[in-house]
């Protein structure tokens, strides 16, 4: 990578299924994401946004073309490299994907523990701090079953952020959030971008986020049809 672009996709194609049922989901994607920026992927459902996000975020094997992530080629990358890269990323999923047997705080600790085993008190303190930032300081020891959809989503955001990731990937992170929390979450992500140079790639339909995006990339039927640089 050049130091300004932590993510660069070139001639990226992707297919689902095999044989007769094989269907191309992405066509010749070329995309460079600038360091510290907030890039938003938009498009109708089925346009390949989530597929692209998971390819960039090491959650799917690259089949054809190239993805350069934090200076490493993902096409043909070893399992060990993928695991190491994933630790530098923060993922907020469409579904919250919290572990049902763990409390809010324990779920967030899992985002920290992946970097090695911290003393329990230190990990708890960091997790509590992040949960406070997303407005859940009074729900630390709640199990996911006892949290609302929006609260669960905020725990997932805290889990993604707690490890100080280089890049945050988010798939509809504010879909389940109310206006105020949604604004808080986006503000938090923006602030991290400013202060720590954290890069964010987000799939969203949320207009309130589009206003804050540095770049809006529109996909249709697996192709990038429009890329608007908001700061230009």
């Amino acid at each position: 990578m050049d130091s300004k672009h932590p993510i660069a996709a070139r001639n990226l194609n992707h297919w689902f299924g095999t044989g007769e049922a094989r269907k191309q989901a992405l066509f010749d994607i070329n995309l460079e994401v600038e360091l510290g920026s907030l890039t938003v992927l938009v498009g109708p459902s089925g346009s390949g946004k989530t597929t692209l996000l998971t390819l960039l975020g090491c959650l799917r094997e690259v089949q054809d073309g190239s993805v350069d992530l934090l200076g490493h080629e993902l096409h043909g990358a070893s399992g060990a490299l993928l695991t190491a890269l994933r630790r530098r990323l923060g993922f907020v999923f469409q579904a919250h994907n919290l572990h049902n047997s763990l409390t809010a705080r324990q779920n967030v600790v899992m985002g920290l523990q992946v970097h090695g085993n911290l003393p329990a008190e230190q990990a708890d303190a960091a997790a509590s701090h992040l949960l406070g930032l997303v407005g859940l300081g009074d729900r630390l020891d709640y199990l996911p079953a006892n949290l609302s959809g929006g609260q669960k989503q905020r725990v997932a955001v805290a889990r993604a952020l707690v490890g100080n990731p280089d890049i945050i990937f988010a798939d509809e992170p504010t879909a389940a959030l109310d206006r105020v929390t949604s604004a808080n979450v986006v503000a938090l992500i923006k602030r991290l971008g400013r202060e720590r140079g954290t890069t964010t790639v987000m799939v969203t339909h949320d207009n309130r986020i589009l206003d804050q995006a540095d770049r809006i990339v529109t996909l249709e039927e697996g192709r990038i049809v429009k890329s608007i640089d908001a700061n230009a």
Binding site: G79, R86, F91, S101, Q106, V109, M110, Q113, V114, A120
Partner: protein, 390 residues
């Protein structure tokens, strides 16, 4: 508990938290593991009891070498051995003493009940050929018609066995001849008969008039101290070189009897199969428990994988669960298994018992089976892209 495990593992005890999240499911998983343990314990107990019961009569006597007929696979079957072979064996400088051992079955009619006693006849003055316990009581056998009874004989009430003392002997008749029991010794019913009885060779011969003192069933030999019995037996085999005889060290004879019972006799083969089936069913149960748990948490594991956790982390969780289930399932499994074996032992007088070796083997086997099952179940996770598992 969570805090303790956290300190122990140096990470959140995910396995523990996962297992205890749903108490009903946890209880079902533990019941499954405990059941698998009980199954294997009972089958192992039955198989071990056959070994104990087979070797039991060898403990009554003290010998280094045994000469038997070539068709004698155990103490109780096969033809006779001419006494002259004993005399020939005694010519070997390393053989110190020899005696004949007679074997037969005596049926003791106790009202409507009949007790089949495996009966041994041996010269009571040669007490060096008797186990210390029996040797201490052997002098009374010199009385004509005297016998020592196995106090653990099947169908013999414990208090009645305890009342058989030299001061209060118990007499009964067998085919018109009177036997008087003066004392008891510790035997224990086997698979062949209800119990054991020991008589002098003279009493034995009056009970079995067709048998001759010159042809006992086996000849017991004792070697000089610090002599390898197997080597002497080898030498005697060459010296005698008679195809109608089996000359073996006493220990070999016992082991060959055991392997004959285990591999050639239907009961032994059935018990061996029982153990194999028990272990297989146990493994299937344990595999079900662990693989169900892994697939129930596949989404969550996929999330962890997406966060950058490697495969060793998941194997760690599975191993943690295997240990927890193995330990917590073992405790009720051991208790119930011991209970069942004790109950069966009381009902059959077979030496069915829980041994430390069995307990350790079953515990280690359970944990290994749990861990392997879990490791196999996590392979899908290792192969798939996280995005496909959400």
């Amino acid at each position: 508990m969570t805090g303790l495990l956290h300190a122990l593992l140096g990470r959140l005890p995910i396995g523990w938290l996962q297992l205890t999240h749903s108490r009903a499911r946890f209880a079902a998983a533990l019941a499954g593991v405990a059941f698998a343990n009980v199954l294997v314990f009972v089958q192992l107990g039955i198989m071990n009891s056959m070994a104990t019961a087979t070797l039991k009569p060898y403990e009554f006597f003290s010998a280094d070498i045994m000469i038997s007929a070539s068709d004698a696979n155990s103490m109780t079957d096969g033809g006779n051995v001419a006494r002259q072979w004993m005399l020939q064996a005694l010519a070997d400088p390393d053989v110190e003493a020899g005696t004949g051992l007679f074997v037969g079955n005596v049926s003791w009619q106790r009202g409507a009940q009949s007790l089949g006693l495996t009966t041994y006849g041996i010269d009571p003055t040669e007490s060096r050929f008797l186990s210390p316990d029996i040797a201490a009581k052997s002098s009374i056998l010199q009385l004509q018609g005297a016998g020592l009874l196995d106090r653990f004989s099947r169908g013999l009430p414990r208090d009645e066995a305890a009342s058989i003392r030299p001061q209060t002997p118990l007499s009964f008749e067998v085919s018109g001849k009177t036997l008087t029991l003066y004392d008891t010794f510790a035997g224990g019913g086997g698979f062949g008969g209800d119990g054991y009885m020991i008589l002098s060779d003279q009493t034995y011969l009056t009970m079995f008039p067709k048998r001759s003192s010159s042809a006992p069933d086996h000849v017991l030999l004792q070697t000089r101290p610090h002599v390898d019995a197997a080597k002497v037996a080898e030498r005697l085999r060459e010296l005698v070189s008679d195809k109608t005889l089996r000359i073996r060290s006493y220990a070999d004879a016992a082991q060959e009897d055991l392997s004959y019972q285990q591999t050639k006799r239907p009961t032994g083969i059935i018990f061996g199969f029982g153990v194999i089936i028990g272990i297989l069913v146990g493994i299937v149960i344990v595999y079900q428990v662990l693989s169900t748990d892994v697939s129930d948490h596949m989404r969550e594991y996929a999330t962890f994988k997406a966060m950058g956790y490697g495969h060793s982390f998941f194997l760690g969780i599975v191993l943690e669960e295997a240990l927890i289930l193995g330990i917590l399932g073992f405790i009720p499994g051991l208790a119930v298994g011991t209970g069942i074996l004790t109950g069966m032992a009381a009902a059959t007088t077979l030496p069915l018992e829980m041994t430390v070796g069995m307990a350790i083997a079953v515990f280690v086997g359970t944990v290994v089976a749990c861990a392997l099952s879990g490791a196999i179940a996590t392979r899908r996770l290792a192969a798939a892209d996280p995005a496909d598992l959400f």
